[in-house]
Amino acid sequence: MKSITALIAGILFGVGLAVSQMINPLKVLGFLDVLGHWDPSLALVMVGAIAVTLPGFALLRRREKPLVADRFQWPTRTDIDGRLVLGAAVFGIGWGLGGFCPGPGIAAISLGWHEPLVFTLSMVAGFIAWHLYERGMAASTDG
């Protein structure tokens, strides 16, 4: 059941990315290009998303458990450290270079176009590189 509901949420998310044109890197770069021919559309994607998610989450906070899982896994971290800022900055540079962030990068593969595929495979390589690095760090502290 958890898989089916995740699939439904994923489909909704994918339709939203396509309708808003987040899957078009030129649209994304047009938003980030404040010195050029600025296209403010993506600011409204954020506004539209938060306008639904903010009240939605506020209502869910009052509930005890989700419909098909044991518990709500709300993020608990509130610390603002160097890692957060460094990671966000590295992500931002990558986003600005290609015009893809993770969701749109994956979703746009369905258009049968090489760019999102190259981007996503490289992103997964980045995930793996970081995963191996962290495991190596953990092993060296344990030993």
Binding site: T5, F13, G14, Q21, A88, G92, G103, S122
Partner: protein
Amino acid sequence: MTEFTPVSALIGGALIGLAAVALMALNGRIAGVSGIAGGLLSNTEGDRSWRWLFVLGLLIGAGGHELLRPETFELREGFPVMLLIAAGLLVGIGTRIGGGCTSGHGVCGISRLSTRSLVATITFMIAAAVTVAVVRHGFGVGP
């Protein structure tokens, strides 16, 4: 160059928000794509299927939209593959270090009124805008 499309941006954004609320209401999970996809590497067996199906949903949603409304935008051509690879690696590593991307920190985090996510969002937005300014206007790559 792209034009301002406020209506589709708001509708698409609202759908993304609806997906985020649905995933929390049903599965108790944050709809952060880098976390969901990156978690495929480190999490236990039983935790993987909903992640795969969410990712599959992204493809079905965007692909389905493309079938029903083809050519809503022109695919970018001639963009350097090396830049896409660099972009993917940076996005992969950066989102793991910083613990989130546009969806997890941007949409869900801000909707939870998390200062940590707000700091991350402001950081990656600035880093991305500076990168676009340097790449487009400094080196003259892209439109």
